[in-house]
């Protein structure tokens, strides 16, 4: 009997999503794409993209990628630990609600208020700075070589919204770890480490990776926090874009749009890497 192959129209199911995305995101962003090919007079040019390799722009992108990687991995790691602690660590259940709702707020606590909060904490006259100096005679700057106004400082501040984001997104995955699996593995004589290595982590890895990519994007697109903290002295891609499009001094919107396109490219590369990692982790799941 011949097998008839019916054309599948399964993709129709995602049409509403793509339609909305085109209407609310694609069309408005179309101006960005067109604008990146235009110069100040409105003529088409590739100069903006050529300019991407000049000045401090490459350094800005490298810094952004570095900070985003650190806060994605670090944020993912400690965020996961925190989620584990409140969901599976045997703590009272009200702590879980408190941490979840707090995470909801903290995940969006960013920009100038967050930067100032850390200035008040770890700045030159900050609460913790003074405490360390008065109690232990330890100067953050002299003895530990630490200043808040550095890439490290930015990363420490970024964790404030990265940890909660990880906690919130990974929570359903941790909830999905069935109690029975832990019991079954213990019945088979597995230690906690073996349980995690062979059962829990393989199941969780796709979700962890997916959330880390979210953290990366979140950090990559952040601007106001780092800007307030370092006044633009640390070159970051989003700050560089803001200078061209928003500021009082430079005004080369075409270059700004080209840089935004550059960020899209970086994000695409990261998504590709993540997809590849996903497939490998699925192999780990099966192994």
């Amino acid at each position: 009997m011949r097998v008839r192959r019916r054309p599948t129209f399964a993709w129709v199911g995602v049409v509403p999503f793509f339609l909305f995305a085109i209407a609310a995101l694609g069309l408005p962003v179309g101006f960005l794409v067109i604008g990146s090919f235009q110069n100040a007079d409105g003529d088409l040019t590739l100069q903006n993209f050529a300019d991407l390799s000049t000045g401090t722009i490459p350094r800005a992108f490298l810094n952004s990628i570095e900070i985003s990687l650190v806060t994605a991995v670090g944020g993912g790691f400690f965020g996961f630990l925190l989620a584990w602690a409140v969901i599976m660590g045997g703590l009272p259940s009200w702590i879980r609600s408190a941490v979840m709702t707090f995470s909801g707020v903290a995940s969006n606590f960013a920009g100038v208020p967050l930067a100032l909060a850390f200035v008040f904490t770890l700045g030159n006259l900050g609460l913790v700075t003074k405490f360390l100096f008065d109690t232990f005679g330890l100067s953050l700057r002299q003895d530990l070589g630490f200043t808040l106004y550095s890439k490290t400082g930015i990363e420490i501040v970024y964790f404030y919204f990265q940890f909660p984001l990880m906690v919130l997104i990974i929570a359903p995955a941790l909830d999905g770890l069935r109690r029975e699996w832990r019991e079954a593995s213990e019945n088979l004589g597995a230690s906690a480490f073996q349980y995690w290595r062979h059962v829990a982590l393989p199941i969780l890895t796709p979700s962890i990776l997916g959330t880390m990519i979210l953290l990366f994007g979140n950090s990559f697109g952040a601007q106001a926090t780092a800007f307030q903290l370092t006044g633009g002295t640390i070159e970051i891609a989003t700050i560089a874009i803001g200078r061209q499009i928003r500021g009082d001094v430079l005004h080369n919107p075409g270059l700004g749009y080209a840089m935004a396109m550059g960020m899209v490219v970086v994000m695409s590369v990261v998504i590709t890497a993540y997809t590849w990692l996903q497939r490998r982790s699925e192999r780990w799941l099966r192994s």
Binding site: A10, V14, P16, F17, F20, A24, L25, L27, P28, V29, F31, L32, W84, M88, G89, G90, L91, S93, T101, F102, G104, V105, N108, P113, L116, A117, F120, L127, F159, Y160, F163, L165, L168, I169, A171, P172, A173, G176, L177, R178, E180, W181, A184, L188, G189, H198, V199, P202, P206, G210, I213, L214, G217, N218, F220, G221, G242, I245, A260, V264
Partner: protein, 288 residues
């Protein structure tokens, strides 16, 4: 031995979706472990100290609570809060309505489109808000759309843009939630009982996604309440974020009071959302 554990894991997947989900108390067999407490305390310290520092700073004026009274006595405070609450709730529902079916469909039927969908949902991170809002204005203020000419149209544009902003978080939360349940088996079981797609999504999938939906709702809510740039350029001056930044303009202590008040109010609102979300006890169809 490892094969046995995983094989059991898979059996567990097959067996346990039939049982009603116990909710959050499923892991309380062990006493609170020391490691968990240490991690929690470290987290609490990290998160609370900057807030305490901000609070301390906000109490420096004379009289001590001046910054707070200035903020809370402002007549437009409650009006803008209500406006933003409403926009946030609408955004959450609209976002869920788009994302949940899409994430479900991608997982179930069109996994090869997954990367494309993920790419689209991650784009709002990369597009600066100011570019997005100016693009929205350009497209939707010109004929034939002319949405910006009415208050309702501008409000609708605001909600639509916020839905876009919520995509990364909502999609990731829902997708993680779907990964934790066995979508295929649940769907097949429901279909074998005669349910159509809408019923499957609303009555079978959604109840199993409670944690994920709450996470997504929290994140969207926080975004909407704090958002400033898009609301400002769309002339939505009733938006709480816009209102707050106007209050704190060029003043020393008010911004600190404002950020703490906003933090506290948003947290309260989330506790309410969490309670509502917890309110409905649902049993999964087909549990016999």
């Amino acid at each position: 031995m490892s094969g046995g554990v995983q094989g059991l894991g898979r059996l567990g997947i097959m067996a346990s979706w039939l049982k009603p989900r116990p909710g959050s108390e499923g892991h309380r067999r062990r006493r609170g472990s020391l490691v968990a407490w240490v991690i929690l305390i470290a987290g609490v310290v990290y998160f609370l100290v900057p807030l305490v520092a901000t609070f301390q700073f906000s109490l420096r004026p004379t009289p001590t609570t001046l910054a707070y009274t200035n903020v809370l006595n402002d007549p437009k405070f409650s009006g803008s809060l209500l406006y933003s609450f409403t926009v946030a709730i609408i955004t959450i529902f609209a976002s869920l309505a788009i994302i949940v079916p899409t994430a479900f469909w991608v997982r179930l039927k069109v996994p090869h489109l997954r990367t494309a969908v993920e790419f689209v949902t991650l784009m709002p991170f990369i597009i600066p808000a100011v570019i997005l809002v100016f693009g929205v204005i350009r497209v939707y203020s010109a004929k034939p759309f002319v949405f910006t000419r009415t208050e309702f149209g501008s409000d609708a544009l605001l909600v639509a843009t916020y839905v876009v902003l919520s995509f990364p978080y909502m999609y990731r939360a829902v997708d993680t939630g779907l990964a934790a349940i066995d979508v295929r088996s649940l769907t097949e079981a429901a279909q074998s009982l005669g349910a159509g797609w809408p019923r499957i999504i609303v009555r079978v999938i959604l109840p199993n996604l409670r944690t994920a939906l709450l996470s997504g709702a929290f994140l969207t809510f926080a975004i909407v309440l704090g958002e400033y740039t898009i609301a400002s350029f769309l002339a939505r001056n009733d938006q709480f974020g816009v209102y707050l930044s106007l209050l704190g303009q060029n003043k020393a202590f008010e911004p600190a009071a404002v950020s703490l008040i906003s933090f506290g109010l948003t947290w309260l609102a989330m506790i309410v959302i969490a309670l509502i979300g917890r309110g409905s006890r649902v049993t999964v169809v087909g549990a016999r």
